[in-house]
Symmetry: C2
Subunit: 284 residues, 2 copies
Amino acid sequence: MKVRRSERLIDITNYLKARPHELVPLTFFAKKYQSAKSSISEDITIVKHAFLRNNIGLIQTLPGAGGGVLYTPGINQATANNYLLDLQQQLADPQRILPGGYLYLSDMLGNSAVLKKIGRLIATQYAKDNIDVVMTMATKGIPIAQSVASYLNVPFVIVRRESKITEGPTLSVHYASESAHHVEKMELSKRSLLVNSHVLAVDDFMKGGGTIKGMTNLIQEFESDLVGATVLVEAKDDGNPTFDHGATALFNVSGLEEAQPELQVNLGNYLEQVDFSLFETTNY
Amino acid sequence: MKVRRSERLIDITNYLKARPHELVPLTFFAKKYQSAKSSISEDITIVKHAFLRNNIGLIQTLPGAGGGVLYTPGINQATANNYLLDLQQQLADPQRILPGGYLYLSDMLGNSAVLKKIGRLIATQYAKDNIDVVMTMATKGIPIAQSVASYLNVPFVIVRRESKITEGPTLSVHYASESAHHVEKMELSKRSLLVNSHVLAVDDFMKGGGTIKGMTNLIQEFESDLVGATVLVEAKDDGNPTFDHGATALFNVSGLEEAQPELQVNLGNYLEQVDFSLFETTNY
């Protein structure tokens, strides 16, 4: 059955959104809708402009026999600013302060709308990078990894402090936990990461950077490469984000460790690290 | 700026898909696109038919002052069968067998496409129920909970065997782990669940049902109600799914515990528990 343009546009939107970073040949849509390739090309032009104007992401059409349509999720800087302001407001609630200089984040990390914002921010940062897999540390990094991985359309793997029987054989490294002031172990199932993988590390909370350094060592043990590391929140009591370890933080929090804790939530170095030009309508 | 129908259809698709189970007034779209309400009504009719024919879900238009458009994600039975066959094929790999009668599932639970299928299957089952929150047990249940929660548009909460400092005060219960043959503890952050919540419990693997029973007790401690419990895989060596505890299993696996394990993956009781009628095109 031939499908009308209005329905094609809805289905193409749905189809591409479910397959980021995946090249879809125009002939696939032409066959699916029993429509001429020229009509599908026109559809894609409409979808392309709508995606960009509505901050869904970039649609590219690659010509030739191996070509097709490619959807890259991402947001422009104005939208990133809005997301960051919204998240900052939620983070700045003083009731989040927990003993020992920690922050209660479980509500935000169990909220789909929050996770989509974090996922889109981080996926925008790495939109042009070649990433094979997202890595995180159990437990609270998992929702962030899952969200980022869905926008990058790659798998995610979970590093654990203590592996379970359900992981099979593991590789492990020890790392210095600066927040806990001792040496801990982290493990990853051997079959969950192939050698020569390009890995993006994400986590919810960074204090000293020990976990990220541990993941970096673990990635080396798997003969793979760390492409980048981004965390939601870095806790640093002088209020200055740590740039020297190469990680990106969406937010920097301070004032947690004082006798009378006074939560300060500032932007981290995210905006300085990200090139939004792919996703700005002014460029098209 | 007035927005053309073609772009409206793309943006409405994107907007509603991001907000399942949320009533959006027609006037919202009319204002957003500077279009007449009658044009928006026509848009919604087009979106409604396209969503149903393409197995995205149900669009309902509720009339009156408090009315609007409501998107309920869900799939028809034919699509559910396809999803189940695909997942069954992936599960049936004998290399998944681990010592002690366990299954390696981490690859599937770190794959966005797999998680979307599981999420849509479980969200279809509970599409008509009043659910406030999805609950799971750390660690491997988390990706399933996150996927289901995104389709139901509710938060998810994570129960842990051992709570961390980052959880704040917790409530705990003890439960008999039939697979581990001893009594264990599970904890949930006190502030993560309100009293009188309607809770859906999900998990990756069930063996004996101890974890689900434990979550049921924990939900009672929070003065809340268990609406349902669904797991990806139930392991039961006689091959007969356990129906008596009221849980739903997408799959039933057996043959794991023999001296020479021989993995058998069969459908669980999911299809018997689910009413797909909302999502069948034949009904419209």
